[in-house]
Symmetry: C2
Subunit: 179 residues, 2 copies
């Protein structure tokens, strides 16, 4: 899976590069590890943000944090930093010798959607999938249209539709991969 910091929109709908949030790395890598996700890509084109991610993960993988909390190390070892979606796809191709199907998530209601149940079945069968989560106020419509699939949004039991990406990712992984 990947957490994308570009191209996403801000609250006004402008395309931006969002800042990396420390707890996204921790919460989402731990959820990924819990549900057997193979890799967790942090995607940002900004070099200083890439350095920040490297600094955080190094602390927990090789630095003082590794001894202090080995459970965090195991999760953050899944993290890989990339500049773009193309770089992620390239690495997956080099590793798996096939291109992943790209499944994008969004809290908004665009047209044709892949249901959780159908994606769950697809994951049980063969295939390589890359699940994308957006930061900020989510992906642009153009970006979503270019993906292979758009996953249906997480709905609760109210009309409030504003989960954090950390919560949404945890719920989606549980629905897709939970026993």
């Amino acid at each position: 899976m990947a957490l994308m910091h570009y191209p996403v929109v801000n609250r006004n709908g402008d395309i931006i590069t969002s800042a990396v949030t420390n707890l996204d790395l921790h919460d989402m890598s731990r959820a990924a590890k819990t549900y057997g996700v193979k890799a967790f890509y942090i995607v940002t084109p900004l070099m200083d943000q890439q350095r920040l991610v490297k600094k955080i993960t190094s602390h927990w993988i090789e630095g003082a944090g590794a001894e202090y909390n080995p459970l965090r190390r195991k999760a953050l070892e899944l993290v890989s930093i990339k500049s773009s979606l193309n770089e992620v796809v390239g690495e997956i191709y080099n590793t798996c010798e096939l291109f992943p199907k790209i499944v994008v998530t969004s809290s908004k209601n665009f047209g044709h959607k892949l249901t959780i149940d159908n994606f769950r079945t697809m994951l049980k069968n063969s295939g390589t999938y890359l699940l994308l989560f957006g930061t900020g106020w989510g992906f642009t419509e153009e970006f979503i249209s270019a993906a292979d699939y758009l996953l249906e949004p997480v709905k609760g039991c109210t009309d409030y539709n504003h989960l954090s990406v950390r919560s949404a990712a945890a719920i989606i992984l549980d629905r897709l991969l939970g026993i």
Copy 2:
């Protein structure tokens, strides 16, 4: 539901009062709002921590944040600050005229547990329940024993068992109250 900062243990098993984490308030109140939870109590006996919580929630409920992001306001309006579990139970009694059944969560495997399925059924029937989440390394065994129910831990599909409380709460609410 309530997020407890005391009595919880640290990594060495010592009983501590944990510090409040800003993103716990945001992520968990948004998840609570999404799944129709009636109130979200932040419990800490430390006055300076209570003031911190008040400062954060006021910013988003009455301050500059309310206008900037009304969706956060709606979620954080669920937050209520209390010094102890007794205070929480007292407020629920004053509001509902009955004492809530206390359901405690833990990632550890203690004895008798309430299954998610059974609790889901209980919530569909009548009754008032208070669901407790622990911070730090979780609740003491004594605290868990004193509750009415211990909810079964969230399991993924691996043996990695170290979700953040934010992720675990999101998954538990989805399993209990999702459509």
